[in-house]
């Protein structure tokens, strides 16, 4: 049997990876939902076509992340989910609404189409906002004061903006014509809002949580890590320059750039958060070591993980290659 330390770090790392991949992948398709225009059917169709083949699998990363929490850190899972009972329920309602609206909008009677489009957009916004809200409460160590709810609400807006950013960057990469042009402007706007959100969370986090402050400013590692926030800010500025350039001269070749920059931003922010809280899984309460499930059960799971996760990554890449390039109209066959 493997050691508790190894298993805790392995499953903690895997859970973190699943959350990051989820935030990036479902982030862009939720973002597309957030941006869905209600004034232009054709643009809406193109945008939805760009995420059609992927959204199902993207959401599965959320199931994996929650599943890993459930399996590897059951005590933390139940503590967090009971603390977040209502926001979780709101998020689930949002996820359900948008997931089904995606299919209904194409298949239901024409007179209901507008209603399903609005459901898709509203569901995406509700989902993103409640995820940000939960992140905010998590950072505030599930404190129940008005102050922390205010912060959580701001964090909710921040995540809506971040998903809007990566969603519009996705559209820049995957579309042409009107949608492409609109996406460039969306992307630039959300880029600034996201920057403000990132700065806010980065300031509040060490101010509220003493252990976080200690980690960022009190160890030898700090010097190596302090560049993270600055690199992040630099990326936002770089993103803005790239977009300004695209707007003025419309290059087609490097349209993947804003998306790549957004992914880098997500990665840095996420690393910052993980570093802040490690080894806690419930801030200030419970570490990954304390909440670890039975090692023999996790060893049994490990075989599956080692065999299957590479396969999942493999066929996910295959699927993205199949639908490589600019989006074409969505046709069912």
């Amino acid at each position: 049997m493997l050691s508790i330390e190894f298993l805790a770090q392995f499953y903690g790392g895997l859970m973190a990876l699943a959350i990051l991949v989820y935030a990036i992948l479902d982030g862009y398709d939720l973002g597309v939902g957030i941006l869905l225009p209600t004034d232009d059917k054709q643009q809406a169709d193109t945008m939805i076509a760009s995420i059609g083949p992927f959204w199902d699998a993207n959401e599965t990363w959320l199931v994996l992340a929650v599943g890993l929490a459930l399996i590897a850190f059951p005590a933390a899972h139940s503590m967090i989910l009971q603390a977040l009972y209502l926001p979780v329920a709101v998020m689930l309602l949002g996820l359900i609404l948008r997931g089904v609206a995606f299919d209904f909008r194409a298949k239901a009677k024409t007179k209901y189409r507008d209603a399903w489009d609005i459901s898709f957009k509203a569901g995406s916004i509700i989902t993103a906002f409640s995820q940000g809200f939960m992140l905010g409460l998590y950072v505030m160590s599930f404190d129940t004061s008005l102050q922390s709810y205010t912060f959580a609400a701001l964090s909710g807006i921040g995540v809506v903006a971040a998903y809007g950013l990566i969603g519009s960057a996705w559209l820049v990469m995957k579309t042409n014509g009107d949608v492409y042009t609109r996406a460039l402007h969306w992307c630039r706007r959300f880029n600034w809002v996201s920057l403000i959100g990132v700065i806010a969370v980065s300031l509040v986090n060490p101010l509220i949580n003493e252990f976080v402050a200690k980690k960022w400013f009190g160890t030898e590692l700090s010097i190596l890590l302090l560049p993270i926030p600055f690199a992040c800010i630099a990326l936002f500025i770089f993103q803005d320059r790239v977009l300004a350039n695209f707007i003025s001269c419309a290059p087609k070749q490097e349209s993947w750039r804003p998306f790549a920059i957004s992914v880098a931003v997500f990665l840095l922010c996420f690393l910052g958060l993980v570093y802040s809280f490690f080894p806690y899984v419930v801030p200030n309460e419970l570490t990954i070591y304390e909440s670890l499930a039975d090692p023999s059960a996790l060893t049994f799971m490990l075989y599956g993980v080692v065999l299957v996760v590479p396969a999942i990554i493999g066929y996910t890449i295959f699927s993205y290659r199949v639908f490589w390039g600019k989006t074409q109209a969505l046709t069912y066959y």
Partner: protein, 448 residues
């Protein structure tokens, strides 16, 4: 008085009842699609492709509803039954984990290629993707039914200080009721899907759809129903015997047996009364229950009174069982009648088509009734005989559970209505659109 335990149970039952509707269709419908696609590849007849294209739309919608309602389930364990994972997590966790890893990603990813990739990949890769999706849905059923069965017939574990630890994974996965439950559920899925396909095809024929595709899918669906419905009666009986061995109190509730009896009668109808602990309005066939369960006319059936305070509520189990069996028998009758008439006359009279339309969702009702029998029949335990539900319920305030329950109920009623309406609307569209295509081709136009 609001009670978190009761509300959590209602909420969980609501969520899982809504969820199970869609996998019940999609598990078997995926295999129908494989069949249509493979027949098209073999024969190169466009009618198989049309059948595929029509049903893949319904599959996509069904699958989406299954996915989103399934996500809810993965959160519910933590939000409403935290004690469940704390006590049983070492067993339940890996089983759920294997379901996510080996089934969810595979089906979701290849679904994208199956739905939208036909022009982008070779026909072979497309057929392969369709097969993978079908295998994925079946693997998913494998793991979740393994966990569910273990909760009914737990084996392969040890309990230390109230926490369950795995000892032998093969015994856990292949616990005594697993094989029966898995077969019973897969057959239920096959029957539900075949009545759905038959019902919608019949609906199209009633709308004067003169094309070949609905006739063909009707024939395929009824053939499948004729094969599967009697198999289900057989497997269901075996499953019942297995339950009799491991969960006698559930069978006692199913049969309405209060006092331990030799030569217990089969109750065709009765109203069990838990206050007086007797049945009212009994219509019974003497000795038949004993004969079915013990294969002896005067075999002994343990009564509910032997399990005071540890047996399930009797009425829902008793009536649920009769709904399931009654519908099952009706489905056998309808499947054979329609298939025989179709064989002899090559078409069905209007009244039989109407019967099939009326029975479009009969599989749903029977499956839900069956699940209520087995799950309510497990009460008051979470894990039969070892862990009671009141030990694992959440600490969340009852009002919060009430709010979310109301939210779910509203959304689910809306979605169920929309789903059923969209199904028939898709059929209406198919009647018109393909007609137009065919006329266009007659006039020398081209297929789009």
């Amino acid at each position: 008085m609001l009670d978190t335990l009761l509300l959590s149970r209602i909420q969980f039952a609501t969520n899982i009842s809504f969820h199970i509707l869609f996998p019940t269709i999609s598990i078997a419908l995926a295999w129908f699609l494989v069949f249509f696609k493979v027949r098209y590849v073999q024969t190169n007849q466009p009618v198989w492709l049309r059948a595929y294209r029509f049903w893949v739309k319904i599959f996509a919608l069904t699958f989406a509803l299954g996915v989103v309602s399934g996500i809810t389930m993965s959160f519910q364990f933590g939000t409403n039954w935290p004690g469940f994972m704390e006590r049983v997590g070492n067993i339940a966790g890996p089983l759920l984990g294997y379901e996510v890893l080996t089934a969810f990603f595979m089906e979701a990813t290849f679904l994208g290629i199956m739905l939208f990739g036909m022009k982008r990949v070779s026909p072979r890769v497309h057929t392969f993707s369709t097969v993978i999706v079908a295998i994925g849905t079946t693997i998913s059923a494998f793991w979740i039914l393994s966990l569910n069965s273990w909760m009914h017939t737990p084996t392969g574990h040890e309990i230390i200080d109230g926490v369950f630890y795995p000892k032998n994974w093969l015994e856990i996965i292949f616990n005594p009721s697993f094989g029966y439950r898995l077969s019973h559920m897969l057959l239920a899925s096959g029957i539900t899907a075949s009545f759905l396909v038959a019902g919608i095809s019949a609906y199209r024929l009633l709308k004067d759809d003169h094309k070949h595709a609905p006739k063909l899918t009707l024939k395929v669906a009824l053939t499948v129903a004729v094969i599967l419905t009697p198999m289900q009666a057989f497997v269901g009986d075996l499953h019942g015997l297995n339950t009799f061995k491991y969960q006698p109190q559930k069978v006692a509730a199913m049969e309405g047996v209060w006092d331990t009896e030799k030569g217990a009668p089969l109750l065709l109808f009765a109203v069990p009364n838990e206050e007086t602990r007797k049945n009212e309005f009994e219509i019974a066939i003497p000795n038949l229950a004993s004969l079915i369960l013990t294969h002896e006319l005067d075999g002994e059936i343990k009564g509910l009174n032997e399990f005071k305070d540890a047996h399930p509520p009797v009425k829902p189990v008793f009536f649920g069982f009769r709904v399931m069996v009654g519908l099952g028998l009706l489905m056998i009758l309808v499947a054979f009648t329609t298939r025989v008439v179709l064989y002899k006359k090559d078409r069905l009279p209007v009244w039989l088509l109407r019967v099939l339309v009326a029975m479009t969702f009969s599989g749903w009702v029977a499956t839900l009734a069956g699940w209520y029998v087995t799950e309510i029949g497990r009460q008051p335990y979470m894990v039969q005989g070892l862990l009671r539900i009141d030990e694992v319920v959440t600490q969340v305030p009852a009002e919060h559970v009430l709010y979310t329950l109301i939210g779910y109920l509203c959304l689910y009623s809306l979605l169920l209505t929309a789903y059923i309406k969209t199904l028939f609307y898709t059929a209406d569209k198919a009647v018109e659109v393909e007609e137009y295509e065919m006329n266009a081709s007659v006039r020398g136009g081209q297929y789009a």
